[in-house]
Amino acid sequence: MNPQLVAVTLESLVALTKLLAELKQASGMTDEQLLDFAGTKGAETRAAAENFIATLRT
């Protein structure tokens, strides 16, 4: 199997596992904590997406 593909697959598993851990953690949060979490994640995602798009367009 292509080593690069193995590396990407392992990264995906790590990312999905992290996502699962975040969701489990979120199950014990208050409404306000959940909304703060969602807001922070959203801001991070938008910033990452904008940076990545800027990189792709240069």
């Binding site: 969701l23 959940l34 990545f52």
Partner: protein, 155 residues
Amino acid sequence: MTKHLYRRAVAPLLIVLCMAAALSTVACDDADKHRAAQAAAGVASGLSALEAEAEALYHAGAIDKQEAIVLVLGISDLTRVNDQYVEQLRSFSTLDTSNRQVVVNWLAEMTRSVDALNNEGVLRVKNPASRAKLAAYIAAVRSSLGIVSTLTGAK
């Protein structure tokens, strides 16, 4: 070929199944606003992970530039919709008949936008293994949307 694809896709899909199980326990909460907030948090997490995955796949050469642009622009749009919903939820002390429409509208818009991202972005990715990985994250976001389906009467 099919066997290899199955192996590459099966582990992420197993994790998504675990995620669905975790979310189903989350959905047992009685408070409607709490469920609405949990859905927003789950969607935000899923979109964040999907964005990171798209970047990783691009850097690994597993998706091309155009595929990456379509994916990330779609993710960015979905994140904006979710952020607006989060701000609206903050202003409600409870969810009742006077403000429940906000959740109904959010679910409808998110469902449409996730379908568009899937059809125009994920399903058009040429590399089958990359497509399978991205589809797993789409499934995670849809699972989070499912948390509020009982609040809106959606099946």
